[in-house]
Symmetry: C2
Subunit: 265 residues, 2 copies
DNA sequence: CAGTGGTCTAGACCACTGG
DNA sequence: CAGTGGTCTAGACCACTGC
C-alpha cells in the first residue's frame, strides 16, 4: 500500500465504524503503530473477548490493506504489553487473567520459601462490601468527582490459615454495577478474572506505592499481629485500556513469612 | 544464507576467536537468537565498552553473513533488555548507568511529591568500607564459597538533609579488587557507573525482596528515627551478564516522606 | 492436509545525524 | 552528502496445531 504521509491513507478497508468512531486525533506515526491503535480499539470495544482468538495476521493484513509483516509488528507490541498472547499453529488470543501462568503478575507477595505451589491458593474472606459516595481522596485517583458512587470492598487473604493480607478495594460504581459480596464469595479464581467475565473490564497495568507502616488497632486485629507491628502498605491504581483508572486498592501485607518480590531490569 | 539446521551453519564469517572461544554448547535456536548470543559474548568480553557504539547493522550482517533484518531482530531484543541503546541516525550504543534517564531504574524510592528533580541528588556518606571473609549467608547469594574475600560497604543516603536510606553492600573481592572508601567518596554519579568505568562490571538486572521491619537501635540512630519505627527492608541481588550475581545489597528505607514505586504490567 | 504463527531474505524508501 | 537506524513490502520456507 501507499506510504503513509499523514494519518491512515486508506481507511476504506475498515468496517467503517472504527474509522468514524469518536473523532480520533490524526496520528502521525508509523503504519504499524496506526494498525496497533486500530486493533487496540477493537479490543477495547469488545469485538474479541478475553480468551478468544483475534483474526489471523493474513486476515488483518487484508482488512487493513497492509502487508503481513506490518500487522505482525503491531501484534508484536501488543504481545509485549501482555494484551494478546500468540500461540504458534493456533492463533493470537486476547489475554485474560484466568490463565495460570499470569496468576502472580499482580500479586507480588511470595512465601519466603519461594515456592508458591506448596502453600496453595489463598483463602479469601470478604469482610465488607458496600456502596458509598466517594470522598475526595478516593475519587481523584479514579478520575471521578467527589460524591460519585463507588463500591468499597474489604477482604482478608490467608495462607495456610494465617491471615496475611488485608485489602480495601474501591471500584467505580458505573462499570461495576451489580457487584455483590455474594458474587465475590462464590467466585473461584482471580478477582480480575471475574471483572473480565462479569463486567467486561480488563485490567492491563497498575502502579503501586509501597511503604512500611505500623499496624493500627483495626488492622492488627484482623491480621492477628500486635498493634504497632510493621506492615507493608501497598497502594495500587489499576488501569484498563487507554490508561483509564478502574480500581484503587490499599493493602496491608504481613511480611514475617512472606516478601514482596520485584525484578528490576 | 543457508537455513540453520543445528547450530550456526556458517561460523566462518566470524573473527574466529568468538567461534572458538569456550566451547559453547550447541544452540538449537533461530538464527537471530544465535546472533544475539554472539553479540552478547562480544559485549561481555568488552569488545565494545559501555557508551561506545557497536558496529552498524550492515557491518554486523556482513560479519555474521546474515541479512540486516536478522541482525536487527537480534539487536531489537538486546535493546528491549536495556543492554544496548539505539539512536536513529547515529548508531547503536552499549548501555551505561551514566545516562540521566536511567538514573532511577534501580533506585525505586521516590519522594511522595513524585518530583525527583526538585529534591536534587542524594547526599551520600560512606560509613564503612572493609574487606572480610564472607559468612555463609553472604557467600551463597553471590555464588561464592564461605570464607571467600568480599568487600563490605555501608553508607547512608540523605535527601535534603534527612537521612533516608541505610545500605549495606557486599561485593565479590576478586572483580572489585582495589575499591576503597576514598574512591567511592570522591566519585560523582551512580555507584553502578563507577563499577563500569573502574572495574568493567556492568549490572544488567536485579531481584529485590521487600519487607516491613522495625528499626533496631543501630539503624534507628543512623536514620534518625525511634527504635521500633517501621522501615522498608529491601534486599537486592544484582546480576551482570549471564545472570552472574555480582552484588548483594541490604537497604533500609524510611518511607514517611518517600515511597517505593513499582509498575506492574 | 490446510492454516496458523515464526523465521529469513532482499530490496526499497524514509527520518535523522553529522560533516 | 553519506551513513545510520526505522519502516514497509513480497515472497519463501519452517514449526506447530488440529482435522
Amino acid at each position: 500500500m501507499a506510504i503513509n504521509t499523514s494519518s491512515l491513507t486508506d481507511p476504506a478497508a475498515l468496517a467503517g465504524d472504527a474509522g468514524a468512531a469518536a473523532g480520533v486525533a490524526p496520528a502521525f506515526s508509523p503504519l504499524y503503530q496506526q494498525i496497533k491503535v486500530l486493533i487496540l480499539q477493537s479490543l477495547q470495544a469488545g469485538e474479541w473477548k478475553p480468551g478468544e482468538a483475534i483474526p489471523s495476521e493474513m486476515d488483518l493484513a487484508a482488512r487493513f490493506r497492509v502487508s503481513q509483516g506490518t500487522v505482525r509488528k503491531a501484534i508484536d507490541e501488543l504481545a509485549a504489553e501482555n494484551l494478546v498472547v500468540r500461540r504458534q499453529g493456533k492463533g493470537t488470543f486476547v489475554a485474560t487473567h484466568a490463565e495460570q501462568h499470569v496468576q502472580y503478575r499482580f500479586l507480588r507477595l511470595m512465601p519466603d520459601s519461594g515456592d508458591t505451589t506448596s502453600e496453595g491458593p489463598a483463602e479469601r474472606q470478604i469482610i465488607d462490601c458496600k456502596r458509598l459516595r466517594a470522598p475526595a481522596d478516593i475519587a481523584r485517583p479514579l478520575s471521578l468527582r467527589t460524591g460519585d458512587a463507588v463500591l468499597q470492598l474489604r477482604r482478608v487473604l490467608a495462607f495456610q490459615g494465617t491471615p496475611t493480607i488485608l485489602e480495601d478495594v474501591w471500584l467505580p460504581g458505573g462499570p461495576f454495577k451489580g457487584l455483590t459480596a455474594e458474587r465475590l464469595a462464590t467466585h473461584r479464581g482471580p478477582m480480575y478474572a471475574l471483572f473480565e467475565t462479569e463486567f467486561g473490564v480488563r485490567m492491563v497495568r497498575a502502579e503501586e506505592k509501597i511503604r512500611a507502616i505500623a499496624a493500627d488497632e483495626a488492622s492488627a486485629t484482623l491480621l492477628g499481629v500486635p498493634v504497632g507491628a510493621p506492615l507493608l502498605s501497598v497502594e495500587r491504581i489499576a488501569f484498563t485500556y487507554n490508561d483509564l483508572p478502574m480500581e484503587l486498592r490499599r493493602g496491608l501485607y504481613r511480611t514475617d513469612t512472606h516478601h514482596y518480590k520485584n525484578d528490576l531490569s
